[in-house]
């Protein structure tokens, strides 16, 4: 008697349906994720004249990407691993990649949704208008930038097994990234910090998002920032996969 093996697409679709339902049921937490960048976007209205709409919008988009990658994805992975949810899935005929791909697809959708919200808030409340090409390019770089923080989250959850410690660590990293990123980039923390922030994951993501929103400003420096972003993603992904354990015990 041969055993029926479900196709990868069938397994993926079952996982995705469940993960989307979980995301929907956690919509209050998702609202909190988008709340911080939205508040910054509205409160920074006065800076648009000085630094430009793309600068303000890209900072808020970067904060959103950090929140999705570090707070949402990472803590969900840490919790599910600790509760044995992954182990239960792995004894079924599922591949590790289909479990993770489904999770990442949901985060990708969150990035697109939140980016859209920021575009709408920016347009309606701050009167930040981009060209259609700028918006399209903005979505693309938001996804690329999001990959950095998702992979950084994967590294954190690979390094730390306890979900409570993961929660604390991600909040700390989130806070450090936002504070040093936003204020450091403006030069408020000194020139050395400003230079370090420029090539940090915050700075490179912020730069590619900012320049993509106004494609005419894309230059050699943006391309180097893009390569650095891809480099960070590859590095964190490698470490995250290497260190990750499916079981927290």
């Amino acid at each position: 008697m041969s055993q029926h093996i479900p196709s990868s697409a069938t397994v993926y679709s079952a996982l995705l349906r469940a993960d989307l339902t979980v995301q929907w049921r956690n919509r209050r937490a998702s609202l909190l994720v988008i709340l911080v960048p939205t508040v910054i976007l509205i409160s920074w209205k006065g800076l648009i004249e000085k630094f430009g709409g793309a600068f303000v919008l890209s900072n808020c988009m970067t904060v959103n990407l950090i929140a999705i990658g570090l707070m949402g994805y990472t803590n969900a992975i840490a919790r599910d691993r600790d509760k044995g949810i992954f182990q239960r899935l792995r004894v079924a005929p599922t591949s590790a990649w289909s479990i993770m791909l489904s999770r990442l697809t949901v985060q990708l959708l969150m990035i697109v949704l939140n980016t859209t919200i920021l575009f709408l808030v920016g347009y309606n409340l701050d009167h930040i208008a981009m060209t259609p090409g700028g918006y399209a390019f903005g979505y693309l770089t938001a996804i690329l930038g999001g990959a950095v923080y998702l992979s950084l989250g994967q590294t954190i959850v690979g390094l730390i097994k306890n979900p409570e410690t993961v929660n604390v660590a991600t909040r700390l990293v989130y806070f450090i990234f936002i504070m040093t990123g936003m204020f450091g980039e403006l030069g408020m923390l000194g020139k050395e910090i400003q230079a370090a922030v420029k090539w940090s994951p915050y700075g490179t993501v912020n730069r590619i998002v900012s320049h993509s929103l106004v494609p005419a400003t894309w230059d050699h420096d943006s391309t180097i920032a893009l390569l650095a972003t891809i480099g960070y993603t590859l590095l964190f992904t490698l470490l995250g996969i290497r260190w990750f354990k499916w079981n927290s015990r």
Partner: protein
């Protein structure tokens, strides 16, 4: 042996598992036949969970052969995993999902198509017709075990692995679960069960293996194990009521020291 293996839904041969320099499982071999409940008994840290984890494919053994319904867990991993249903000791499901959604998820993973009406029917079969819209955490321990067993068998697997399924259940729920296991045996499923309850092993297992320090030290039907060991001084000294029970044999063979 070949004839026996052809009927086997699980074949484990020469299994060795190491954690670093520590050997947790030593040359373990056994088979589980179709229509048989096979119990794996042992004190804490004896190697039961490591053996079970290797069978489930969660742990890669250093050597040995594991075949589920004829499929190698290493080379034909998907086929082997699709042929077994697993109830883990610490099973948990996403707390945000309802029971119906969890059943739908696992049915989808195993490629089983279930309509909402069909899900309602199978929940009614386990007397949980009102539980479809509840969350897993809202169910009692007995109800959780019933749902967990339902999910483990949603794809009608040839082998069912149950890791201490009755731990923490009241006598009524435990009896009910035993009846379900026996019903699965009647349908031709092979069941591999780990338990610390000697009463349970004696009541429902057709054969048991006692594992200690990573090795199988005895394997047979509960009654044969009692008969073979009833005259051993260490078994007699373990006896508390004059009548030799499986628990006396177990303590006699594995020692009375408490394992951590």
């Amino acid at each position: 042996m070949d004839n026996q293996n052809s009927m086997a839904v699980l074949q484990v041969e020469g299994l060795n598992v190491y954690y670093g320099a520590v050997q947790a499982v030593r040359n373990v071999s056994f088979t589980v036949q179709a229509g048989e409940i096979f119990g794996l008994l042992g004190p804490n840290g004896a190697g039961k969970t490591s053996t079970l984890s290797a069978v489930e494919g969660l742990l890669r053994p250093q050597s040995g052969i594991i075949k589920v319904a004829g499929y190698s867990i290493r080379e034909q991993s998907k086929e082997a995993r699709a042929s077994m249903g697993v109830q883990l000791q610490a099973t948990s499901f996403q707390p945000e999902l309802t029971i119906s959604e969890i059943i739908q998820l696992y049915a989808g993973i195993y490629g089983v198509s279930l309509t909402k009406d069909r899900i309602a029917d199978i929940l009614a079969d386990i007397k949980l017709q009102d539980a479809g819209s509840k969350r897993y955490g809202q169910l009692s321990g007995g109800q959780q075990q019933r749902v967990s067993l339902l999910i483990a068998t949603v794809h009608n697997p040839r082998l069912v692995l149950l890791d201490e399924p009755t731990t923490g259940l009241d006598p009524q729920s435990r009896r009910q679960l035993w009846e379900r296991m026996e019903a699965m045996r009647e349908k031709g499923h092979g069941l591999l069960l780990t338990t610390h309850s000697m009463e349970e092993a004696e009541a429902i297992c057709d054969r048991i293996a006692i594992i200690d320090h990573g090795q199988i030290i005895a394997i047979d039907s509960p009654q044969v194990l009692i008969d073979l060991n009833r005259d051993k001084p260490e078994v007699i000294s373990a006896s508390r009521k004059g009548k030799i029970t499986l628990e006396d044999v177990f303590i006699g063979l594995t020692g009375s020291a408490v394992r951590t």
